[in-house]
């Protein structure tokens, strides 16, 4: 089990290979996802990200999360140790449950984004009867 605080690697699909136009690293932030009786909760570590730069979007069962770290460039100082660089965070997840899109909430607290995706009360029947030919 990874115990690192830094963003971890995720398998990326072909769409992820589009290069960013800036030279900031684009990182996959560590994420917890759990499910309660009435919601799916997504918790994302995005340190140094201002809540105004966070974009959360759910479209076609794909939840996408982006945010930009502010950075602490100190003028007149020399960077003697650099274990991290201010990054752009980006992650997408496939959400399979039926979600009540109008009731989604997101809050940012001390660099941790928590998204609550309430499950839709009456999920429409999705099963299609297959007929023998």
């Amino acid at each position: 089990m990874s115990e690192s605080f830094a963003p971890t690697a995720v398998p990326t699909g072909p769409a992820e290979h589009v290069e960013p136009s800036h030279d900031r690293p684009v990182l996959a932030p560590p994420t917890d996802i759990y499910e309660t009786e009435d919601a799916i909760i997504v918790v994302v570590d995005m340190p140094d990200v201002d809540e105004r730069s966070v974009v959360v979007n759910l479209e076609n069962d794909v939840l996408s999360i982006t945010g930009h770290a502010v950075g602490h460039a100190q003028t007149g100082y020399h960077l003697a140790t650099a274990e991290y660089t201010p990054a752009n965070y980006r992650r997408t997840f496939n959400v399979v449950a039926e979600i009540d899109k109008d009731s989604i909430t997101a809050k940012m607290k001390q660099g941790v984004l928590t998204i609550c995706l309430p499950k839709a009360g009456e999920a429409p029947p999705r099963r299609i009867a297959v007929q023998a030919g």
Binding site: F5, A9, V10, L27, T31, I41, A80, E83, Y84, V112
Partner: protein
Amino acid sequence: MQHWQDWPELNRLFQQTAPRRQPTPAAQNQPPVNVWLGDDEAVVTVLLPGVDAKDLVLSVQADTLRIEGHRESAEGAQAAAWHRRERSSGRFARAVRLPYEAQPDKVQATYNRGVLIVTLPREESTRTKRIAIQTG
């Protein structure tokens, strides 16, 4: 020895294909640290998302800053089902050594957006003093 980062083209290829991981200290549960040095003070910034400020303990002795604390795990301990669990929790500790001694009583720390920023003014006696040259 040349490092792979010295080849921009290879680096670019790596960026595209390798898993994107932020450089981390080898030891686990060590939050990443940046150290900025100025003439009169040092500024240490640490990425520590989601820590309660009261769970952070800072101490300074001579030229060493110690950062210790713990992070609570996600609230979903009673969650019905876990789908993914990547965020770390538990104890962490870092010690940062500066190239000069700090004034322990003048150290200041803030914690905002999950980033700890510690400002450590340099001990007067260790400062470089410029000597005026007299011409005769």
